[in-house]
Symmetry: C2
Subunit: 339 residues, 2 copies
DNA sequence: CTGTTAGCGCATTCAG
DNA sequence: CTGAATGCGCTAACAG
């Protein structure tokens, strides 16, 4: 910085102010400083400025996994939202509760980031208190947490609506695939399950939940296998996620079961591949989820109180070709399409 | 840090040493300090220590996109590789040359990260000189760059081998789908194309390259559409990536073309969904690619010279069900399986 | 509008 | 093995 000051013939303070766009610098001096900095390929050291401002210019993001489609898109949204605020994005992958704890405890979150975005974590009371004690703003992304800023969709309502849609098509026997979670997190999945249950209960129909022990498309294959081997095959299968639905579709195809003729399949996410499979699914705005969370985090990091600390984003049922009326069903009553 | 010192009854220096595991601290004092730090939930400020050591404890990663499967897996590998070194991961998404330039110029790379990992970027000479002038170690991941540490697969050899495999099956008319790249990057795709060309030339067969203007599965759909509309449909299609292959498969299925009966399809990547589509494809070790790049970057960041600055990882042809001998083909000669 | 000064929290000399 | 002093690069509060 001294070099820049010398080259532009001003003092350190003026360089500092000019480079930050702080007020109190003649536009002429400002220009000279910026030019000198460019020529010297000078950039301010965030570490040094953090030392005095207390703000690092970095937002930490914790995700349970980096691989699945969802997190790539969410991260992309977060990156976009952060860029507007000029903050950097530091990423931690914490696949289970122990790792998350390690993150919270050992990792340089405390004074090394201005805010934390937790994606798809449903912390228990203990984790919440630990996070809270971190002393930095926390934003939950894709998860509603009372008392904390969060950005989310209404998973329960969305799944309830998807279920109602199948009911309206004439389905009476609808199964739900809900993998048992081995990671120690609760996810939004419980809410989706609740939505399914609510719709079935409202229709006076029994629920049927298949809970494979694995995750992803394998879970779908396992669940479909279990259903195929059972006494009575449902006419429709709701999967907690598209990945699972893909597995269900594959197992059904391999078993020679016609979709949607014999069985309808509905997913959740509307990820890119859903179109390839012609999958009827609940779309959620994942990029926007990330972006909104990042905007919230940036506000909080800047010490401002955001107007809306709870942001609910809409979902949308995308009708494709894996769901239809069951064979021989009566035409559904008019005007009964789900919202 | 002063609080920790007071609480454990030692001086600041001792705390500093103890917390870093530096030599010259009695194990008793060390234990007291660590305990005190834990009780106070104290973590060192990376910014402050960076100020004096010159090392930030952070590695920057630039990816062109965050969404595609490839980058999620690569990032996961990088995260794993970095964790061992205790470094943090800061991510930049730079979708085109202009953004990359902005990253290099404006973003706090210079003294704000200890090394840079560039994933899937094939920089031109200009970009390379800019990157080089950054004054920090650069590692290329999934891209071989002469004169720079890099981790990569032999794309050309892998695609050549995949092509030979089709030739050995008896195919003579093999098309290659190679999307025109609108982002301004060259990617590894050119190398794969070269591999295909080499194999076709060696067999004395004419090449047929389809170059749709879009990317991802849409490119596959477009390419398949073009081929279907042409005078003569090839008996096999090589796609530059699995995503593209999925699009090809979909278009073929929609057109009622039997796979692999009428047309064989081969992808590249072996991403998770490839198994769902039963896609025969070239597998590359994406996680390892990231992990190895991270290990290299960590070495370089620590100022050590890594033994191997060029790491080539193996690929593997995964035989599934979308590729077979063309109808009525003679049995391939024995012992002619590609490597 | 601009320059001077005093730390921010830490690692690192150097003495003990 | 330990403690006291120095300065890393920067910003903020002050004078001019």
């Amino acid at each position: 910085m001294a070099d820049v000051a010398a080259r532009s013939g001003v003092s350190l303070s003026t360089v500092s102010r000019a480079l930050r766009g702080a007020p109190g610098v003649s536009s002429e001096a400002q220009a000279r400083v910026v030019a000198a900095a460019a020529e010297l390929a000078y950039v301010v050291s965030r570490g040094a400025s953090a030392l005095v401002t207390g703000r690092t210019g970095r937002i930490a993001v914790v995700v349970p996994f980096l691989r699945p489609w969802f997190f790539g898109v969410a991260l992309s949204g977060i990156h976009a939202g952060l860029r507007a605020a000029g903050a950097d994005l530091v990423v931690y992958e914490a696949g289970d509760a122990a790792e998350l704890d390690r993150c919270v405890r050992d990792l340089p979150l405390r004074r090394n980031a201005d805010a934390l975005i937790a994606v798809s974590f449903a912390p228990d009371a203990y984790a919440l208190s630990r996070l809270d004690g971190l002393g930095l703003p926390i934003v939950f992304c894709s998860q509603r947490v009372e008392g904390f800023p969060s950005v989310f969709v209404d998973d329960a309502a969305a799944e309830e609506s998807a279920t109602r849609n199948l009911l309206n098509l004439g389905h009476r026997h609808i199964a739900y695939v809900h993998p048992r979670d081995a990671t120690g997190f609760a996810w939004a999945s419980r809410l989706r399950l609740n939505g399914y249950r609510a719709a079935m209960a409202a229709a006076g129909l029994p629920e049927r939940v298949v809970a494979p022990a694995c995750t992803g498309s394998s879970a779908g294959e396992a669940a479909a296998g279990e259903l195929l081997a059972s006494e009575r095959m449902p006419t429709a299968v709701l999967a907690e996620s598209d990945d699972i639905a893909f597995g269900v579709l594959r197992a059904l195809r391999n078993a020679g079961v016609d979709v949607p003729g014999t069985v309808s399949v509905v997913g959740f996410d509307d990820q890119d591949a859903a179109e390839l499979f012609d999958l009827t699914t609940v779309a959620q705005p994942v990029f926007r989820l990330g972006e909104a969370a990042a905007e919230l985090a940036a506000e909080l990091a800047a010490g401002r109180a955001p107007e809306q600390a709870h942001v609910e984003l809409p979902t949308r049922l995308v009708i494709r070709r894996t769901a239809a009326a069951p064979r021989g069903a009566a035409r559904p009553p008019a005007g009964s399409q789900a919202r």
